[in-house]
């Protein structure tokens, strides 16, 4: 059986996990829905080289951000697992 202390520790681990998820998914939504769709027209007033910014986010930038989000997630979770000693040996 798990001790009370262990249960509390696992609860904390899960809370930290949910916080990481909330932040990363928030960025995911911001980039895909707002920068690339709802505010794309406004962003198109700015340029990135030959790209209009809103168009660039929709066809390039969002994909790079998605990739970055997964990389950050993998690193954060691996270190969180170690910190709370729930990682696989």
């Amino acid at each position: 059986m798990k001790t009370l202390e262990e249960t509390e520790k696992l609860r904390q681990y899960w809370q930290r996990n949910l916080r990481i998820l909330a932040i990363l998914l928030g960025i995911w939504l911001l980039v895909s829905c707002f920068l690339s769709i709802f505010f794309a027209k406004e962003l198109n007033a700015y340029h990135l080289g030959g790209f209009k910014l809103g168009f660039w986010f929709a066809q390039q930038g969002s994909i790079y951000v998605f990739l970055l989000l997964i990389v950050i997630y993998v690193r954060q979770m691996n270190s969180l697992d170690k910190q709370f000693d729930v990682d696989e040996k």
Partner: protein, 565 residues
Amino acid sequence: MDVQIWTYIIVGLSFALYISIAVWSRASSTKEFYVAGGGVSSLANGMATAADWMSAASFISMAGIISFAGYDGSVYLMGWTGGYVLLALLLAPYLRKFGKFTVPDFIGERYYSNVARTVAVICALFVSFTYVAGQMRGVGIVFSRFLEVDINTGVIIGMFIVLFYAVLGGMKGITYTQVAQYVILIFAYMVPAIFISIQLTGNPVPQLGFGSTLATEPGVYLLDKLDGLNRELGFAEYTNGSKSLIDVFAITFALMVGTAGLPHVIVRFFTVPKVRDARSSAGYALLFIAILYTTAPAVAAFARTNLIQTVSNQPYTTMPDWFKKWETTELIKFEDKNADGLIQYVADKDKNELKIDNDIMVLANPEIAKLPNWVIALVAAGGLAAALSTAAGLLLVISAAISHDLLKKQLMPKITEKQELLAARTASVFAVVVAGYFGIKPPGFVAAVVALAFGLAAASFFPAIVLGIFYKRMNKEGAVAGMVGGLLLMIYYILAFKFNAFGETTPKDWWFGISPEGFGTVAMFANFFISIVISAFTPPPPVRVQHLTESIRYPKGAKAATAHH
């Protein structure tokens, strides 16, 4: 050497490679057959997932669609990549910890009910069959265009190849052939893209090239030029959309959630040894997919610029060879309406004289850019690799759903491992034959139904899995009601607004202005809502299941996927 001979050589070599891999990686147990023994490295799994995911549509059609739709085509780019964020963060690690063979397996165990399992099996079969028919058709089309055989012969050759390595190797064979197929398809996609980028802009990186200035007109950005060309001909500006924002949002979101709910993608994450491998292989998968998906919009812009400059207001008699060649396949159609001998390619339907199929943009690209013959042959091999790898992944989902979730877990629980393996192989033969039949005689609704496949996955699996992981109180009554409700709503909407089954409809009648392609988003929220409300009024799941749900939250103690607990 001419294109034909090059194509036979390159396609032949790639097929020989797939078959040797299949012989080398035969599956000898159900675990190897369903999840490749659970020992695939995260890098290899990432590549296999990328090949599994990128279908004939991604390889052949996507750049063409974007080329004609401009900004509106972004829904596919974001929708089919953004889903991997959901997969990596919300599904893959937990499903890996759960350690089962199939998606219906998870649903059945988590919701302690064979009704839930059966509903999941039906969804999985429906989604996968819809999808696989399109792949076999893709195989047939590539064969007929490049090897000049009949489409049906092409489909049958494709069937035998897939049959050979899927039946023999199961998931193990499929995984390692998919790795090879990824390498071939990405090479085939990038080589022409790089050549064309250099020709047009002088920049060898297509992702940067399409934001650069033109080689022929220094100081003019390619995209500005393209906006101008589109304007002149009466089309919407390339970098601005013409669809309503709410619909663009709904379609993007439905594709993302649908991607995360597709069983043939999810099952790939059962094949890695550890939870941390599941996380990182989702990252690798997106990296490998992103290489193609960030190149596609560049190819689209290059192709459109090239096309307009080659054909617009030019005499029909001076058209290059590729134009005539693709005319014979009827993928390009020219009708000289005002009989002036010039090609008018304009937005106005009454004046437009040129019809161009989406698929041509990738398939004819090397010819339009005057690249050597071996590059053209390579594109054929790449298209086949994309179609075959996706078909194989889907066939495995179908055979596992039948042999594992229907037979072993419900109808005949007493069969031995050997018998189950035999059943799995038989089921995959059956699946190939059905897929081949659909490839030869495609039901008219195939194209329309692909939207349905994503909508269905979004409306059924995604909420059931996410709630199963993140909401301990979620019970079988809620999950089943949610899946069935989401599914029926989605099917109703498609029937009503795509097929006009209940009387004529126009886009004005759409609910909230959302097209059938984007309706998966609404159906998904409906599923979440139904599930949560119903579960609040029905008894909580048994303590055993609550413990199970708790345990998948922590990576520690993950074992390789097993059939028993």
